[in-house]
């Protein structure tokens, strides 16, 4: 019952449409990450859920209750802000207990809940300090503590880790994961960091230009990106893209482009690709192997080789007219490849195939997740 639903939600500032026609269902206890670049509408969506921003059209439901016109406090939510938004004039205990105190909860109960939250977050020793005397990580904990104390149905996080340094960020990320397991509360988490999304989310919602591009588990989003945007956005380094045309040759479907003549994945024939249909191919850097063991091949001039310990990232240029830049992840130390011409190969099944016009993935199995995207998506 403590899930959340957005039904046809639209947000306009004047003539500017920030969020288009949004439909989304979140199950109870889910950790949903809204992922996208800045300005994509994810934060606005979160703020509409919180009640800090009015919705222009559509309805918001929390726990099955329509809260579209409800004051933030009555939505049974708690929110953690990017800059923590602690009350600078109150000490940590007062910060955490503020909402309970103003709603008239008995002092004994307040003290008990603050103590419990402080214990969970390991901040018992700083309860008497003011925010200005805390480190960034401590402030973050207090902000989370303030949310926990309220025992809300839904937690909202707005880029909560982006003000921390890298080391602290990964530490807090792990703590958040543990915390969510422990509390089991529905959580909506906004971030532009795909690592956070991949590690924390039960499901990821990928946003771009005010609309949902794909909703799915981290594995689904990574393995079956619904369109070229998601394909390019998720994964590091980014997926390599190639422009090709489908060609039926001797009864076999080939993918042909500038210096490319590759075998198509098995399933492609079954989705009704026509001869001469323009396509966009996606190929993850991790799907490539050095050598010529697999059917599809190409040669790169390895301009940059970055040795990362267990693996190396090779950035090279294809030996074609358009000199396309390609990234490849190779196991082990590949520094010997530097300035060499290297052959790479891959299995056709590793290819992601998108319609060039719409950018939509042609792989049939992912159509289920598209139910969540809006109807305007395909022009």
């Amino acid at each position: 019952m403590s899930g959340l639903e957005l039904r046809g939600v639209v947000k306009r500032f004047g003539d500017v449409v920030v969020v288009k026609q949004l439909n989304l269902k979140v199950a109870e206890g889910e950790f949903l990450v809204l992922l996208g670049e800045s300005g994509c509408g994810k934060s606005t969506t979160l703020r509409m859920i919180a009640g800090l921003e009015e919705v222009t059209e559509g309805r918001v439901f929390i726990g099955g209750r329509d809260v579209t016109d409800t004051h933030p406090m009555d939505r049974d939510i708690a929110m953690v802000f990017q800059n923590y938004a602690l009350y600078p004039h109150m000490d940590v205990a007062k910060n955490m207990s503020f909402s309970l105190r103003i709603s008239g909860v008995a002092p004994a109960v307040v003290a008990e809940r603050v103590a419990a939250a402080a214990k969970i977050l390991n901040i018992e020793h700083i309860l008497a300090r003011k925010p200005k005397d805390l480190s960034g990580g401590q402030r973050q904990r207090v902000a989370i503590g303030r949310a926990i104390v309220r025992e809300p149905k839904v937690f909202l996080f707005d880029e909560p880790l982006s003000n921390l340094d890298a080391k602290l960020r990964s530490h807090m990320r792990a703590e958040l994961a543990v915390l969510h397991q422990r509390l089991g509360k529905t959580t909506i988490y906004v971030t532009h960091d795909q690592v956070e999304a991949m590690t924390l989310a039960t499901r990821i919602v990928v946003f771009d230009k005010g609309q949902i591009q794909q909703v799915g588990t981290p594995a689904e989003v990574f393995n079956n990106p619904a369109n070229t945007f998601v394909a390019g956005f998720i994964g590091t380094p980014s997926m390599n893209m190639f422009e090709v045309v489908a060609q039926v040759r001797n009864g076999e479907l080939r993918l042909v482009g500038d210096g490319i003549d590759w075998a198509a994945p098995q399933w492609l024939g079954a989705v009704g690709v026509k001869d001469a249909q323009p396509l966009t191919l996606g190929l993850r850097p991790q799907s490539l192997s050095a050598g010529e063991a697999l059917v599809n091949r190409f040669t790169l001039r390895a301009d940059v080789v970055e040795y990362l310990g267990t693996e190396s990232q090779v950035v090279g240029v294809t030996q074609t007219k358009d000199e396309r830049r390609i990234s490849v992840i190779v196991p082990g130390d590949a520094r010997a490849m530097h300035r060499q011409h290297v052959s790479f190969c891959f299995d056709p099944s590793a290819l992601h195939v998108f319609d060039k016009g719409s950018g939509a993935s042609l792989r049939p199995t992912i159509n289920d997740t598209l139910t969540y995207t809006n109807k305007e998506m395909t022009p």
């Binding site: 004051h71 406090m73 929110m79 602690l86 103003i102």
Partner: protein, 291 residues
């Protein structure tokens, strides 16, 4: 490399010397004057040292004490009204609404008018025969009042003039302070369940408390120095009902020609203002916060 104490001293010295010359010299001069009997218009060398006679003369004069209590009442009423009004207006007008810029500019005009002109303008407005105030009272059916001819009303009149002139100062200070308040803290409070009053009194105002304290101190100091408006509006009358201490000092110095006694009274004024400022800064000390 650590900066040596000497270097710090060298860098700070000019600023400290300028401060000392600009602020301390006049105060010390006032102390010096309070020990002499000197007639204006005669050579300073002809001044006679009289020890504490001027202080004795000043403090044994019941007019000084009645004037001090008038001043305290005046400052208390004006400054609290200005603070409340200024803060309330700033809260009401802080949001971006079309045309607000013009509105705000109009609002701060009174502050920019010379005090003498303010006094004259209010003198016309409070005029028993032709004044705007009585005309307005007439519209709502209230009989005209002889504002400047009645001890209580005259006091009310100088209070109104001061509030009119100086509320905008509080307004501007608060507007600037509120503009600096982190919006997300307010949003956090709203999510925490703060209604408008909670948000104002438990979050917004405490967050700008240091500005409130500074504004309060500045207004207090100014309220004790008000001279021109009262000089023009009532000249301290009727009787001595509006004779605030600054006006008493002025009269003693320039009409009574008792420069030394006037200096002694102004030292009393200085002490009162210093004590009140100290108290106001204890409320929230901006220096302490930034350290």
């Amino acid at each position: 490399m650590r900066t040596s104490r000497f270097t710090i001293a060298v860098y700070l010295a000019p600023a400290i010397l300028v401060m000392a010359a600009a602020c301390l010299y006049p105060v010390l001069k006032a102390f010096e004057l309070s020990g002499y009997k000197w007639d204006m218009g005669t050579a300073a060398s002809s001044a006679k040292c009289v020890g504490f006679d001027n202080f004795i003369a000043a403090f044994s004069n019941p007019q000084v004490w009645s004037s001090l209590s008038t001043t305290l009442l005046f400052a208390a009423v004006c400054v609290s009204a200005e603070m409340v009004l200024g803060i309330a207006l700033a809260l009401a007008l802080e949001r971006q609404v079309r045309g607000m810029a013009v509105f705000r500019t109009i609002f701060i005009l009174p502050m920019m008018i010379a005090p003498i002109a303010v006094g004259l303008a209010w003198r016309y407005m409070f005029d028993a025969q032709f004044g705007l105030i009585n005309a307005l009272l007439g519209v709502v059916g209230i009989a005209p009042k002889t504002w400047l001819a009645d001890p209580t009303l005259a006091f009310v009149a100088i209070v109104i003039a001061d509030i009119w002139q100086w509320t905008p100062f509080v307004f501007i200070m608060m507007l600037a302070a509120l503009a600096g308040v982190d919006r997300s803290v307010l949003e956090a409070s709203r999510i925490d369940g703060a209604r408008m009053w909670h948000e104002i009194f438990l979050v917004k105002l405490p967050m700008v408390m240091h500005v409130i304290a500074i504004t309060l101190v500045m207004r207090l100091i100014d309220a004790f120095r008000v001279l021109e408006v009262v000089y023009v509006l009532t000249f301290g009358g009727p009787g001595n009902s509006t004779e605030i201490l600054a006006l008493h000092v002025y009269k003693t110095a320039f009409i009574g020609q008792q420069i030394g006694v006037a200096a002694a009274v102004s030292i009393l004024l200085l002490v009162v203002v210093a004590v009140l400022s100290w108290a106001a800064l204890r409320l929230s000390n901006p220096m302490k916060d930034s350290a």
